[in-house]
Symmetry: none
Subunit: 216 residues, 4 copies
């Protein structure tokens, strides 16, 4: 009512990007929790500082919002990975560190994992449509390719290593560990997800990957 209040309200309302960030943060949570069909635009709007109408204003429709939420998820994760400094490490140590890091990183970003799961349920259609995300991942694989090249050059890794296949191996363990935790816990107990078990699994995984790289 007062001019003061209006000013305050305007302060962030007049900042379209802040509004969009607000919506996206909520959207990621909602989509990660309920999937694409299970997510509710109403629920997203309710947890937002804006109204449902704004979602359509900025993102067009539910799928548009989902696509942007997916992009934001990938972006955030890849930014986290950027902190890794592997160039100055010898190849084996670099690979070791990369695997361990990925394992932990996935564990710490369950919402991202869930977004990817959901995207796989939907045959990666939104992903295919997003050039942004593809670019992000090309960069990610470059890092691994560099390690492989150095390792081969130094003779510590076997020749003809496929960085993509290596990434597949690293991802498989790290991803499955988070994605399938609910069913795995129910079927075989939650013990595998205790801190000590997780530490051992991570170590096992690191050693398995290194064995593959050095293989033969």
């Amino acid at each position: 009512m007062t001019t003061k209040n209006q000013e305050e309200k305007r302060s962030w309302k007049q900042d379209p990007e802040a509004v969009q960030r607000d919506i996206l943060a909520v959207a990621v949570t909602e989509f990660a929790e309920h999937g694409l069909s299970g997510a509710r635009v109403d629920r997203i709007a309710a947890r937002t500082r804006t109204s449902k109408r704004m979602i359509y204003y900025y993102f067009g429709d539910k799928l548009g919002l989902y696509t942007r939420a997916l992009e934001v998820s990938y972006q955030k994760v890849r930014e986290g990975e950027a902190s890794l400094e592997l160039d100055h490490l010898p190849p084996a140590a670099a690979l070791e560190r990369l695997v361990a890091f990925t394992f932990d990183h996935h564990r710490n970003n369950p919402d991202f994992i869930r977004m990817v799961m959901i995207e796989n349920i939907h045959q990666a259609e939104a992903l295919a449509a997003s050039k942004t995300i593809r670019d992000l991942n090309v960069a990610a694989i470059e890092k691994l390719k560099d390690i492989c090249n150095r390792g081969e050059a130094e003779g510590v890794f076997r020749a003809g290593l496929d960085p993509v296949a290596l990434h597949w191996q690293i991802s498989a363990a790290s991803f499955f560990n988070v994605s399938n935790r609910p069913t795995f816990s129910v079927l075989f107990g939650a013990e595998v997800f205790s801190e000590t078990s997780q530490a051992r699994l991570r170590e096992q995984t690191v050693e398995a990957i290194l064995a593959i790289a050095k293989q033969k």
Copy 2:
């Protein structure tokens, strides 16, 4: 319309179990394709030889149908695994065969994989409620435990092997290979999923698992 048709219709009517099997087969496909929220009861009914009403007659509600569909999926897969004859093989060979088999089996049962993905999205709630499935999986892990025991006794496997952790390793690779194929293909190309690449990945996986078992 014709008397013939009526006869035919009758022939499978009045056979409740056949009707339920019919519905379940369609339901698995629909749920695997669209998820729990995305699945449409109408669509399931349409692909069935019965009516929507019968779905509710036999399964109560959508969640009831989903739960049964999940159970059926697990059952079918575990039955497939039962054909494996591992007892007469030496431990290492048995493990090798189990890993390779699991890898292939998951590839050949994408609908099962998708059902499990969906169930993970839903925090394994339906799974937790189904004693049937838990029993099935207890049996599955027994097989692996037996291999471990024999391997340890013969001194070919390291002591203290955790069958559940081993199952985790086997599942991670085999499951991820199917579950994340869509996103992985979009981001890093479909080459990893070619027959030759898959053969190599399977071999790599087998060797990695064996390395873990023999480790140290």
Copy 3:
């Protein structure tokens, strides 16, 4: 399975009237509790020793069952009233006793009251169709008419008393006391329905009715 069991089962199954009584008893409860639309044929069947199919076999449809249930309710209540012996009492005492009895009787037969409430909601259509019930009530009013006649003849009641109007007065208090107990309790407290309050209300009602009969 055994012949013995079959015999036992047959023992009451072969008694159609017992089956119908079983169904009707359950039906009265269900209709009284949920009303005509609210009652569920499935629920009635479930609480019965027979199947849903039998309900249709014996009563045609839901409305047929409801009508019979209503008839049975009236019958039971009127039979209860038959135990009253008023002929040998002087008119005032007879009327006093009739009022007090009705008051108590209604309190003790809430299901009957609810059936009548429900029938009123439905504009007494089923009642209008049932000659059985009309006959029952003609008999009931005769009793009151007799008391009035004797009272007038003896000069203790005023002339021109209308037995139907008197019945209206008696019913109003006795019926309302049961029918509106839920709303009345919520709005004005349940104290009016305590034993002591009820005793006083009954006495007040008796006196009020007698005042009307002796009036002027």
Copy 4:
């Protein structure tokens, strides 16, 4: 179709309260006529100037609509009673007027009576949940309490009169007269509901209540 019509439609659109009033008016009629289970949301929507969707938009679900309809019914009736000016009348005259008024008022508001009947069938659950209605009725009983107090103070009413019990007596006659008209008519003829009979019943009731107040 015509511009005129669109204008008209617009004129009352965008007026949420008008829309809600429209819906509620229709809802009261439908619920009063068919009860809670018997009422059809479709039928309500059809008699409305809005669509079925708006019912859910404003009232959540059928029970929510029913609850509001019940509240509106009570409100309307209590507002009608507010026109009564009893303070300036001597106690006996005030009570006489209150009884006569209630008797007529109930007769003129059969929909309200039916709503209360229906609510009683449902054990007053909606009523119990509505603070609004409870407040309304507290006010209603205050009026009666005031009359009692004045009457006792002036020595025209007996001491220890319970206003709630008195309200029970007044309501019993006035309510039953409307609620049980259908069954009573079928069983004992419609003559009791003729204008002359009703006038006499009202008078009888007034006198009976006054007799109770002055009693002893």
